[in-house]
């Protein structure tokens, strides 16, 4: 089956609050799509509306050529993985995984076989008879994952599944999730507020804010060439610099002139320079800025540089150089081509 999802003019109101303001979204079959945004942006509501747990106020949701927004959640065949795991506490691991198959009236022998296969896939075959409370958080989330995939869902939905786990576990489960999704090839929608998770996992990221979609693109597109300042700042640290635009080029406050990647852009707030793209060179005498603070982070050193009335962030990677002290005069080296950022005031 072609499990593409099509969302048209979807809105959701809770009493007086509008949580979704007319979402239009096409998700091709097999795509791993990330819904990324700050808390309260409506991403979880959108996911729950797709799952059927929440009813939309208006608009349509289509699964391939079938309209599903009026269909009960139990009839949609979507797997949903929760931040809270939401395992059935009174059932063993295998009973949890078997639940969806029992609901589908699958034969007993078939259930045993498929449950075992799903638990094998998430590496928990040895814990099949345990109760959820006897498992760690990471193991519980693997059970939830097995429970969601064992029903062979048309679409897999993830609601911040890694947010309750500690950092190390989050990384390992993230890799497993990605591998599993690629192996199964199932259309997946994944909600998160964590930009590094979004970039690591997604084929594509949809950035949301205040119940609307800001922009959409591959992780590289959105990180390197975001349209909006909001996207740039949400996807990692960025310096937004008020530069003087001169046709195809711009002049930075400290005098450097750079080429523009998108000189035709309107409603511009400034140019973006990622801290890792801003090199600093210690100098004596004539300088662009002065180091205000530094922070040693192991793999890299972060610097805050005061230049032209603004504090800029720069990251020096590698450990060979000594850390520059505060008060050190530096020259700033920006990339050859810079990207203009639009103000979000102009978004729908």
């Amino acid at each position: 089956m072609d499990a593409s999802i099509s969302i048209r003019r979807l809105t959701k109101q809770f009493d007086a609050t509008t949580v979704l303001k007319g979402i239009d979204l096409e998700i091709p079959a097999g795509r791993f799509l990330i819904l990324l945004g700050p808390s309260g942006c409506g991403k979880t509501t959108l996911l729950r509306t797709i799952s059927g747990i929440t009813d939309p106020s208006s608009g349509e949701i289509w699964l391939h050529n079938k309209r599903i927004d009026g269909v009960a959640p139990e009839k949609r065949n979507f797997g949903l993985v929760f931040q809270t795991y939401a395992l059935f506490p009174h059932m063993s691991v295998e009973k949890n995984v078997a639940f969806g198959l029992e609901m589908r009236k699958v034969g007993k022998a078939e259930i045993v076989r498929r449950v075992a296969a799903a638990l094998e896939l998430v590496g928990l075959a040895h814990l099949a008879t345990r109760l959820p409370k006897q498992l760690s958080g990471g193991q519980q989330q693997r059970v939830a994952l097995a429970r969601a995939i064992v029903i062979e869902p048309d679409v897999l939905l993830f609601d911040e599944p890694l947010s309750n786990l500690d950092a190390k576990l989050r990384d390992s489960l993230r890799e497993d999730l990605r591998a599993l999704q690629q192996k199964l090839g199932v259309t997946s929608i994944y909600v998160t507020h964590d930009q590094s998770e979004a970039m690591a996992l997604g084929d594509e990221i949809v950035v949301m804010k205040d119940g609307a979609i800001v922009e959409r693109g591959t992780p590289i597109e959105l990180y390197r060439r975001p349209k909006y300042r909001f996207t740039a700042e949400f996807l990692g640290m960025t310096n937004v610099i008020a530069a003087q635009i001169e046709g195809e080029t711009c002049r930075l406050p400290w005098g450097a002139v750079c080429r523009l990647e998108n000189p035709a852009e309107t409603d511009v707030e400034g140019v973006a320079i990622r801290p890792e793209d801003l090199a600093i060179v210690p100098v004596e005498g004539e300088h662009d800025g002065v180091i205000d603070q530094s922070m040693f982070m192991g793999a890299a050193t972060h610097y805050w540089v005061k230049a032209a009335g603004q504090t800029l962030r720069a990251i020096a990677s590698g450990g060979s150089n000594a850390i520059l002290p505060a008060g050190q005069k530096v020259k700033l080296v920006a990339p050859m081509a810079l990207h203009l950022l639009k103000s979000l005031g102009t978004t729908p």
Binding site: R76, T84, A86, L87
Partner: protein, 289 residues
């Protein structure tokens, strides 16, 4: 505090009036009562005797009373459970239903049992409001008050018990995470299956408490059966009053009291035995598959 802690605390608080009352005003005097049932009131007779117990178990009037007491304990509990379970589940559905039912079901909590009894009497007795409404339609009013099956008493008892049960069961159900219910839905369970497979098993400790407290309350209830119950049989509670205050036969009062207490305890133990074998059974099933 985590939700399970709050839930346990809520349940304990709900249990406190019942269990605390039982311990202080029931457990302690129980010993005195049991002992009293073996004493004799006849002057000159042996101070320790089984006479009262022999009379109790050989008199058809008393035996019928015993069965009727049991009936008046079980029937309202069953009726209340049938109403309280769906009501509690509906209250979890959304905020509107919670507000609506949440207010409605509390009303009977503040109405004393004797008032509830008179309400039922005024409405359901022959010549009462219901029969006057039905008369123009040519429908005869069935006998619901002072009838052989104690229907009036069961209605009044249930009317009192339902909010009490709902309070405990809805509390237990509200403690179940909404995500768990949503997970069951997305896995293919409809609302009824969710109630049966998820909500009931998880709310089971609360349901147990509610059932036992309701049964024990109805078993010994005096006001409602004496107002609404039939002239025969009389439940033991009503017999106890007559034996004590009209005949002065206190050993018989003690014997009947002992019997009622033993019944309550027996039901409690039987309930735990059944629940225990259920959970052992499902655990065995899990281990086997």
């Amino acid at each position: 505090m985590n939700p399970t802690k709050v839930n346990t605390l809520t349940l304990l608080l709900c249990l406190l009036p019942g269990v605390g009352y039982l311990l202080v005003f029931f457990g302690l005097p129980l010993v005195t009562v049991v002992f009293g049932s073996f004493t004799s009131r006849a002057p000159g007779a042996s101070p320790i005797t089984l006479d009262t117990w022999i009379t109790l178990f050989s008199s058809p009037v008393y035996l019928d009373g015993l069965w009727f007491s049991l009936w008046l304990g079980i029937a309202p509990t069953a009726v209340s459970l049938l109403v309280s379970l769906p009501l509690s589940a509906l209250m979890q559905a959304n905020e509107t239903s919670q507000k609506l039912f949440g207010t409605l079901y509390r009303i009977p909590l503040v109405v004393p049992g004797v008032v509830a009894g008179f309400l039922v009497l005024v409405i359901l007795d022959r010549g009462g409001m219901a029969s006057r409404l039905l008369m123009p339609l040519g429908i005869p009013m069935p006998r619901l008050v002072r009838d052989d099956w104690g229907v009036g008493a069961i209605i009044a008892s249930s009317w009192k018990t339902i909010p009490f049960m709902t309070l405990i069961i809805a509390g237990a159900m509200a403690a179940i995470s909404k995500d768990i219910l949503a997970a069951a839905r997305t896995l293919g369970a409809n609302r009824l299956t969710v109630l049966w497979r998820i909500q009931l098993p998880l709310a089971q400790p609360g349901i147990t408490a509610a059932v036992l407290l309701s049964f024990i309350g109805s078993l010994g209830s005096y006001v409602i059966p004496s107002l609404l119950g039939p002239a025969y049989p009389l439940p033991l509670s009503v017999h106890m009053f007559a034996e004590g205050f009209q005949k002065g036969n206190w050993p018989m009062v003690y014997a009947m009291g002992t019997l009622l207490s033993v019944l309550a305890i027996a039901v409690l133990l039987a309930y735990y035995a059944i629940v225990g074998s259920f959970s052992r059974g499902s655990a065995a099933l899990t281990a086997r598959s």
